[in-house]
């Protein structure tokens, strides 16, 4: 029992300690001219879906609920967002060449259609980010009009 006590005290200290390590927040107030929503004429309903379901990890602006400010969640998230943005960044979409824009759009469609995105681990916590079958259809067929 003593061992458990010691371990839990250590864990507690570590847990409190790591809260003081700073992280970079993915927050940018300005909407750049190359933002997806500026580059394309996006219907309101599609815009809100993309913002809620994709922008947290694929833009320069993440909405952080309180629990995402706690370590080690915040670390994990920081990493995750960097990875997401490297793959696709809606905030700077206009900076991709036309060629890459087209291929990104195609990838967005197939990721959504194949239920790979939004990630299950993400929608598990953010239930509002979940896209229903109808939502997916709507988003995908709108993107199709851009590509084909």
């Amino acid at each position: 029992m003593k061992l458990v006590k010691i371990i839990s005290i250590i864990l507690l200290v570590v847990f409190v300690g790591i809260q003081f390590i700073p992280t970079t927040r993915n927050l940018s107030k300005d909407v750049s001219n190359s933002d997806f929503m500026v580059v394309f004429d996006v219907p309101k309903n599609i815009e809100s879906k993309l913002k809620v379901s994709c922008y947290d990890c694929h833009s320069n602006n993440t909405y952080y609920p309180w629990y995402n400010k706690i370590q080690p969640v915040a670390w994990f998230l920081e990493d995750h967002i960097n990875e997401g943005k490297a793959e696709l960044n809606f905030s700077t979409f206009g900076e991709y060449s036309k060629r890459r824009q087209k291929s990104k759009l195609k990838s967005i469609m197939s990721q959504i259609t194949d239920d790979e995105m939004p990630l299950e681990s993400y929608t598990l916590i953010h239930s509002d980010a979940k896209l229903s079958k109808e939502d997916k259809k709507e988003v995908v067929s709108w993107i199709e009009t851009l590509v084909y």
Partner: protein
Amino acid sequence: MKNLSVKTGILSMAFLTLTAMSCKSETKKTETEDTHAMEASSHENEGHDHATMHGDSDSHERSVEASTEKNAATTPILDAYIQIKNGLVADSKEKAAAGATALLKAFSAFNMSELKGDTHNEYMEILESAKEHAEHIVESTIDHQREHFEGLSTDISDLVTLLGTEKTLYKDFCPMANNNKGGAWLSEVKDIKNPYFGAKMLKCGSVQQQIN
């Protein structure tokens, strides 16, 4: 007191495991693409009135002449591309991935110092895009490889138009590829061997153009 610290211990452990678990659940793909309605490319090409990306790669403002040059410099790139293509024809994820690794190597070995102006810019765009596709092909499932192969084929085909080749190539097209949107590829042989379906539909497609 003892009870309390045990509780905190359990709680913090639970918390740590919970947070450690939530990342990167590799989502599994389901193979449900056998439903090919044999209506060919059903995509309407009516005009859409807002900013779309129609025919992007060939309708640039740039004035780049199609090259008819017998260019040997592009051969390593094309050979690697064909290696990917043949990997997909053989339904081999590993062979396709090996081809993509070879393609990345071929691109970094390519000497672009001779390319000037618009040709250089065009090349850079193709390179950027092709590299991205190749990187994905290296590390993906075969379905995903095929999706990227479709984009890669556009890039490589544009590269041939831009810089030319000494090889004899066939530009093939399968209307059922890419979710019935149609997909093209380049082949070194005249016979149709479909990289988008492999053994499932090896013969689907037709030669659209012969290069050299």
